[in-house]
Amino acid sequence: MRRFHAIVLADARQRWRAPRLGACLLALVAATWFCFPSAEAGYRVLGIGHYRVAYSSAWVGMVVAMLMSLLSLVGFYLVRGTLTRDIESRCWQLLVATPLSRSGYLLAKWLSHLLLLGAVALGMLVVAGIALSVRADTAAFDPMQMLLPLLLLGLPALGICALCAVLFDLVPVLRRTLGNALYVVLWVGMLASASISGGNEGQPVVRLGDVHGISVFKRDLNRVAAEQGVDANAERVCLLCGSGATAAEPMTWKQWSPAPADLLGRVFWLLLPLPLLALAARGLDRAAASPASQAPNRPGVRPLRWLQSMLWPLQRQSDCALASLELQHALRERSLLAWGALLVAWIAQLVASPAVASISVIGAWAVFLPMFSRAALREREFGTAAVVFSSVSATSRLFRVRAMVLLLLGFVCAAPALARFAVTDPWVFLALLSLVASLAAWALALGSLTGSARPFELLFVVGGLLALNGVGALDASAAPGSTLLVHTALLPLALLLLAFAWPRSSRVAGCA
């Protein structure tokens, strides 16, 4: 038990001493305030159709519990990495030489993640309590009703998020960009499975397909709505309902009483991590010994001679020569599968419909996502900062070089589509150009500002998923005008952030 406690405590200390995490958590908790708008505000976060549910302890607690489904997305990126850190910093070698059991170690890591997420959830609940006292339509305060949804619906979701953080750190190929991207897909899948589980009265009550408890909530909200004369078939339950609710009609949600079968389903999700962690512990030694964990580079990769020949003209100018070397070194680490995927994306950009061609461009960028997201972190990750940043004008030179590499990469990935749209649809062509510049700038800005690849990777994957749903965040053909406008308008902000964060990031990395 002491060992268990020591691991959890060490992780907690390591985490809380990183100021970035504290700022992030504070921002998350503070953002909760805006999830409880006043009756006059033009938006709602959770509701049913155009009805506004009056604030009560039970409702506020339920809103926080449903926000846990969002926290289980963002939280993954906040908590993951401690296992990888132990392995890469070789702390694991010290731990493995003790009588500590493998399953105990993984369980402690899981619990440490869960505690952090739980702390955020509690912080959000406190803010919700303040919102309740300020904006409540009733003076009654029931702490149990506030806490119950969080415990039964939110906590299992956070437990699964913490489990994924441990398991993804355990599998060498999922420790970095691929894992970060895959989790978003998994999370969307979990939400989709909640929708499939349904939320109507007549369906099975033990809802094993619903990690976040959304179907339980929808079922009960529909029931309460029906009791108050709301047509549940005509009005849809919504999370992040958005604006347009100024004329919302009131309805009430006084208490929530889960059915015994609901409890069974929730306990299943809450306890599921335990056997899975025990199983995963069997592979811990092998995972920790994996060479892929030692560094992001794969050793023994052959140089790309054809690329060297293609980039030969760049060798004449000093910055270009350096960019050419960086590009060669980074591209040679891409697997054959990645090159195959790029080829398919290129063909699609040329022959598929404009919408699919546009999605293919995002696919091509996704193949090289680690190069974008980690461009600002190379020295930090490989420990070469002190050597590199003690060179002449290294900070500004490396910035120019990295920007050059990312722009080049962005253009090359989208080259067939750019050529095609330049002829057929100049607006899409211009939108693509703005996207290339935006990707390069935001990748560098977010990387140097946060010291992590995760924020950019998260934004990119969410942008990609939105594009698949026809939203033009990264999709140049969905709404080229607005894409061009938004990305061009945001570019100065990215450059401003870069001007602030890049030199600071170089200085910090050099002194580390």
Binding site: Q294, N297, V388
Partner: protein, 317 residues
């Protein structure tokens, strides 16, 4: 009065005296009232004054003395909180590139790109340092040969041992043929043969450049350094020649053979720099102003003895 006596604490003013007593006419690097504080306010360096000319400067001090901080400041990776560092008379905070052009830096801990071969990694760093393609190719070959890695230059760095990686680090520091070479714990991980090779390389290089060598291995400093700088608690405690420090320790080092069972008691009572178990007992090397016993015989001090005596006088070790 000797340097070491001058520097017995508390005597910060005497440090300055000692510094001024050394020839500073051809100084390349000067540190003026140099101080550095961490963000939390903890002082890592305080009021350092030094004038350094070509040759090898051995930087000694206990853990946390401020050696690595001093090196990072000189390497322009951090800015002084107070005071300044001048290279060829120019403040490096105002124009860091003047120094960086002629700087070779081997940090205590550094990483490599494991997928690259030693040659590719050095070529990359040569490009970062701004060497032209022709220069780069020539210097990479030369530096690889200097550290004895020319035969494994095409092997990926992932396959290199710790000592081989350290040699890659030394090679990268030499790439731009630096006038100022800063090496922090350079012999860590090197086998004895490589350590000797590195020492002679340093001696060779030091004829026309300034080499700052920070290490805990006092014998490395003894073998190669022409000048010794000792830091403790971020303050300059000694600045002078190693021979002077050793001469000061003359008559204060004793060889003494004692029964093994007395060792724990004697360790508590005396400053012992070495203990060697023999058939007839334990041979101790004791640092003391007078003979610890009638059986003790005077011994010729090494730099390690002299350094320990200095630290002992300062109230450390």
């Amino acid at each position: 009065m000797s340097n070491a006596e001058l520097l017995d604490p508390p005597a910060p003013a005497a440090v300055t005296q000692a510094s001024l007593a050394l020839p500073a006419a051809s100084s390349w690097l000067s540190l003026e009232r140099l101080s550095f504080r961490y963000r939390g306010g903890r002082e890592a360096l305080s009021g350092l004054n030094l004038e350094l000319a070509p040759g090898i400067v051995g930087l000694l001090g206990p853990n946390g003395a401020g050696k690595s901080t001093l090196m990072r400041l000189i390497a322009t990776l951090a800015r002084p909180s107070e005071g300044r560092i001048c290279w060829d008379g120019v403040d490096t905070a105002k124009d860091p590139n003047l120094l960086r052009r002629t700087l070779g830096y081997l940090p205590q801990e550094f990483g490599v790109y494991p997928a690259l071969s030693a040659r590719e990694f050095l070529s990359y760093l040569a490009a970062v340092k701004g060497l032209s393609r022709a220069q780069s190719s020539m210097r990479v070959d030369h530096c690889l040969a200097q550290v004895g890695l020319d035969e494994v230059a095409e092997r990926p760095l992932a396959e290199f041992s710790g000592g081989m990686r350290q040699r890659v680090g030394i090679a990268q520091a030499l790439l731009n043929d630096p006038r100022l070479l800063i090496v922090d714990e350079p012999t860590v991980g090197l086998d004895p043969e490589e350590r000797l090779r590195f020492r002679s390389l340093l001696t060779e290089l030091a004829s026309d450049r300034l080499v700052i060598l920070s290490t805990h291995i006092v014998s490395d400093v003894e073998a190669s350094a022409s000048l010794l700088v000792v830091l403790e608690g971020g303050r300059l405690r000694y600045h002078g020649h190693a021979e002077t420090l050793m001469a000061d320790a003359q008559g204060h080092v004793w060889d003494w053979v004692v029964p093994a069972k007395h060792l724990p008691k004697l360790r508590a009572e005396h400053r012992i720099s070495a203990a060697l178990h023999r058939v007839d007992g334990v041979q101790l090397r004791v640092i003391a102003d007078s003979a610890p016993s009638a059986d003790a015989v005077p011994a010729q001090p090494t730099l390690e003895d002299a350094y320990l005596r200095l630290r002992s006088n300062m109230g450390g070790a």
